[in-house]
Symmetry: C2
Subunit: 334 residues, 2 copies
């Protein structure tokens, strides 16, 4: 497997990006193609023992920053590491692309300039993988499409099902729809219309899923429009980080609670590991014509390696062909 | 002030409901009118020292349960404590109504059977008051209206502003709109359309508020449609309770972390108090023609007392007249 690693992606590029790619090449035997500033990548590679690893470097002159506007960057930076890297997948020179960079920019470049949509897919979706208490849940869309029609959500459900089946190996993924109540009929017009269609389809549709139920192993895939999905993940992140910060502040208020905090540190460490984006890996962009995994900006080397693993799994399992097979049928209506 | 307390509201009715009403009468000198099963209320009152307190009891034969469907209960239980209690406000015999019961049922009874909308209000909203790190934020709508038009959200902003000003005493409340990014232009069509109107209005509109920013004192009132608002508060509650439960489990795994947990208990107690719905009080129903405060089903006596205090503050400040004055102008278009 040949996987492209955007060397200029993470907040601390190219350090974790290159280190993670090296790690992946060493542990998994993958061929890693680093894309970005050739000199910086080579300087970084010199810090690692790269003997016998399959590593390549492709130069790209421009860097997409976290502040770049997606709508601007697609035109303004044709030679960015994202654009050049995705083109390698598009042209059949690589099996997948990973980046810890600007998600909106990656989506825009993939959709409008490089890989484009799979024919038949109405709207590609950004997913988020939540792993908690031993369960893995794929949420989608979490930000690509703020305004959705029921037919988009139906496709998100199908693409999420395919990803859960192909890349995560679940035999019969349970598909739910994010709603404000578990009872049938709850939700807004979009939810009810989408549910009406999903119910009639040959999938394991489990109906409405409340936010709390995401953590309670009720579904493997949870579908929403990109606005609500984004509010959901930002609320979960916000509440979690606020609570952790408050605990830290309160524990710091007296010597006794500080001692207590020190003694209970192993418990917190294990929870922090559980909710650490570095452990969870990246988010697949589903519906574009090539395997693309976007990692967190704060990714470390292990996170980058995990993104490469995800990309390999998806490519090996034939994710793109599977989506094309299921949704390509409607290409004529597209 | 004469405040009606639904004695059959909370999960443990009538125990905390009656105890909280007695507490309010004792501490605040309010006249409390308990509504519900007269015999049970009187039996409960006998457990308290009620000498010199201004307490009244009004009988209501039926009880709205947490499982009752709002659409059914409005017709099926005309003699419920909620219905009878709100009618006392409607008929001018009381200044406000509080209940720790079924929120959807309270909204439906208020809107369709008892108080009705204030003329000119297109859709009443359910609010939620979040108090964290010393800041108070009013979120609305958090569940009354799953599908909204921009004109509803504009009215939610106005009603939230009036509540923050009148009942919470903020001189110039900052009004924000819940969105998936802080930059102008982020959001979905509804958010952008609503923002366009709010910007032109004589209010302190601060634009888009991301979920995380709710806790960072960026706005006093945050507006959303009822579906997204409900997803938001359920996500916050879900993440918080999951994290607390995970901390408890992890701390219980070794004697050392258990000792650590015991020593740091005061820190957790202070956080638990901060996020305890009993400390925060109830949620005002805004836009119905009378002061209605809905408490959490798990309310204890202090929570009930705090709901009574909220109702008194809103009634004293002339909340309903203020809403009528601002929105009543459009009554002809209604």
């Amino acid at each position: 497997m040949r996987i492209v690693v955007d060397a200029m992606g993470s907040d601390d590029f190219p350090v974790p990006d290159v280190a993670g790619g090296v790690l992946a090449a060493r542990e998994m035997g993958s061929t890693i193609i680093f894309v970005g500033d050739e000199q910086r990548i080579k300087a970084e590679l010199n810090k690692h023992n790269t003997a016998n690893l399959k590593l390549e470097v492709v130069h790209a002159a421009e860097v997409v920053t976290m502040n770049d506007k997606p709508s601007v960057v697609v035109k303004a930076k044709p030679d960015s590491s994202m654009h050049v890297g995705m083109n390698l997948v598009k042209n059949g020179q690589a099996d997948g692309f990973i980046s810890a960079g600007n998600t909106g920019a990656a989506l825009a470049i993939a959709m409008f300039r490089s890989l484009h949509r799979i024919r038949g897919v109405k709207r590609p979706a950004l997913s988020s993988i939540v792993r908690i208490g031993g369960n893995t849940v794929i949420l989608l869309d979490v930000g690509a499409n703020a305004d959705c029609k029921a037919e988009y959500l139906v496709q998100f459900a199908i693409m999420g099902e395919i990803y859960a089946h192909k890349a995560l190996g679940l035999p019969k993924p349970r598909i739910g729809i994010l709603s404000n109540g578990e009872e049938e009929g709850k939700g807004n017009d979009l939810i009810r219309e989408t549910s009406g269609v999903l119910k009639t389809m040959p999938m394991n549709f489990v109906g409405n899923i409340e936010p709390r139920e995401i953590f309670e192993n009720h579904a493997d895939v949870v579908v929403s429009d990109g606005f609500v999905g984004n509010i959901l993940i930002k609320s979960l992140e916000g509440a979690t980080s606020l609570l952790i910060q408050r605990i830290r502040t309160e524990i710091g208020k007296s010597p006794i609670t500080m001692l207590g905090g020190a003694l209970s540190r192993p418990a917190f460490r294990s929870i922090r590991k559980e909710i650490d984006p570095n452990e969870i890996g990246g988010a697949p962009l589903l519906g574009v014509d090539g395997v693309v995994i976007i990692g967190h900006g704060r990714s470390n080397d292990v996170a980058i390696k995990n993104c490469v693993r995800q990309a390999e799994q998806a490519a090996k399992a034939g994710l793109i062909d599977a989506i094309r097979e299921r949704l390509g049928r409607n290409a004529s209506e597209d």
